[in-house]
Subunit: 351 residues, 2 copies
């Protein structure tokens, strides 16, 4: 899922996303709550109508951004008080309020309100944070069912699915306990949260894999905030179905392009007269039409189109990787694909 | 002609321009000379190949930017010495050098090197500047013919046309003299320069109209750096065929959208919950899919897509205006069109 924080994927138009075959977008409840406000979006009939996007949307609960972006936050049993990073205004997010905001936004998939446990923490801190997330999960689900079954007027999409979020930091016994507690609440599907927050890539994939294996096999498993292209391949190998990550879009704006052999940085002097496409053989609009030399020129000249062309390529690379993974699974050749992918792709190819 | 200063129209992709029906782009020799350099562009076979744009391109001579952007310039008979506004490096532009740079860039239309007379000036200053432009016009043409007929290796496009530029400030007798001197040199076609530099809109259109009437009727007449939508209608009424201007693109990035009734500023608070398209009835991608409220949100959230969607709309508005003008002329209804246009469009509708 490409990330469309404020109701747009940065540097692209919706028609570019449709052209890339984007099936579902992620938007951030935290950002939309602060600007333009969930009430305004609700009045026009929800986020799909507000932003003119008819394909599925997932909204996160706001929990992660409250912990990573806001100022002066206070967590208690009720929820999180915080100040907006935009204008300092005071807000309170609770499981109920997050669920109500997401009902007004009307995304197709909404997330339970959780505490994203920081890293590193002691096992005791991880347990306390996890147990708070479990109590919040129950409250999120209860409010979700009340709103849906009560056909509350503020609900702009009666077909919403709600995903629960598993926490437990890097402790396998806590992860297992969290899976059991979250599945016991009963959501449409489940996400693995609290990873990619500072632990090593090896630890991340190990914990994600163990957790995925305990989750119900008949429901999508969503690994939040991951990751590098090779992380996706390894996480799928361990049972993960869905991902979101700002890497392809954010790094594109900083000049990093993902290629089959690894990331390259387009601002490098060695590309000044390199008239090959960024990733020879890639079929995206950028690679079919433009050279590394031209993209480097646009980046150095600080042109907006540098961000757009780089983002187009990176999203194509990520979506194409997921499509190849899907095809390999269907054809029973996933292990071959996985080995071939790692033989070619090195995340250390960065220049 | 949309302006693509550094080899890209700011905030759009080439496919967006093709979709808008852009027939010809303007690029700036001054900017490309400084970055990435005409030598580099020449080595890959010219600007069309460097930027991946197969439709026609016009390059200006660099004269205007030297006067408006560069630091510490010195003008003498030979040409203009100046320092780059980017890195302070020293450069010399002469009629010969400008023509050579444009030959390497390989645009389909190139411009003679002129001095854009500042405003206001005395008649004597205007005469001296104009006479310098006439001497430079001869040198530009001579070098152009040498390069073309000598099939110099640095020429990347043997089908170039070169336009001469008429100066003379706001003095009709000088303008007439400049037309005669420039036509005597003998270019493929002619441009009216030195307008829209500070004089009133009325004076601009009056001088442009008088000058256009003296130019050869069988050659395109190009009014440089103009203008507002109603300027285009009035200039065509006086015989002008071609325009370039940064207004539709630059103002789009500042939130100004041109509509049939006049410009609006999308950041105005009154659009916060206005779910109508920017210009109801407009058939551009932006107006077909997005509301003023969403565009205002994107602008206030500082999203790149605000610039892209606003630019798409404004270029559509300008190109559509020119297409309507063309059709009205073909059908003999230009006067009716002109009156209807002015009845609806007011440049003072700005909010």
């Amino acid at each position: 899922m490409p990330v469309g924080t404020s109701g747009t994927v940065k540097a692209l138009l919706h028609r570019d996303l449709e052209d890339l075959g984007v099936e579902i977008l992620l938007a951030n409840a935290y950002h939309l709550l602060l600007r333009p406000g969930d009430a305004l979006i609700g009045r026009v009939g929800g986020l799909h109508r507000f932003m003119g996007w008819s394909r599925p949307i997932l909204t996160d609960s706001g929990g992660y951004q409250v912990f990573s972006l806001s100022d002066r936050r206070t967590v208690d049993e009720e929820g999180v008080s915080f100040r907006s990073h935009l204008d300092g205004s005071e807000h309170l997010l609770t499981p109920e309020r997050s669920t109500e905001i997401q009902a007004r936004l009307g995304a197709d998939i909404v997330m339970a309100f959780d505490e994203c446990t920081p890293y590193p923490v002691t096992a005791q801190q991880a347990r306390e944070s996890m147990e708070l997330t479990h109590r919040w999960a129950k409250r999120s689900r209860q409010r979700f069912l009340e709103l849906r079954d009560g056909a509350d007027e503020s609900v702009t999409n009666l077909g919403q699915a709600q995903f629960g979020i598993v926490q437990g930091s890097v402790f396998p016994d806590l992860r297992r306990e969290s899976v059991e507690a979250t599945v016991a609440v009963g959501f449409e599907a489940y996400a693995i949260g609290g990873l990619s927050v500072g632990e090593s890539a090896e630890e991340m994939i190990d914990i994600a894999g163990q957790t995925a294996a305990w989750l119900p096999p008949d429901r999508p498993r969503y690994l939040m905030g991951v990751g590098m292209p090779d992380d996706l391949v390894e996480a799928v190998a361990r049972g993960v179905d869905m991902f979101d990550c700002v890497l392809p879009t954010r790094n594109a704006r900083n000049g990093q392009l993902f290629t089959r052999s690894g990331p390259i940085n387009i601002k490098a002097a060695r590309f000044a007269e390199d008239f090959d496409p960024p990733d020879p053989g890639c079929e995206c609009y950028t690679c079919r039409n433009f050279s590394r030399a031209y993209l480097r020129h646009l980046y150095i000249a600080n042109e907006i189109s540098a961000s757009s062309l780089n983002t187009l390529h990176n999203l194509h690379f990520y979506l194409d990787t997921m499509r190849r993974i899907g095809e390999a699974i269907v054809f029973g050749s996933f292990e071959t694909f996985r080995q071939a992918f790692h033989q070619t792709f090195s995340r250390r190819r960065q220049v």
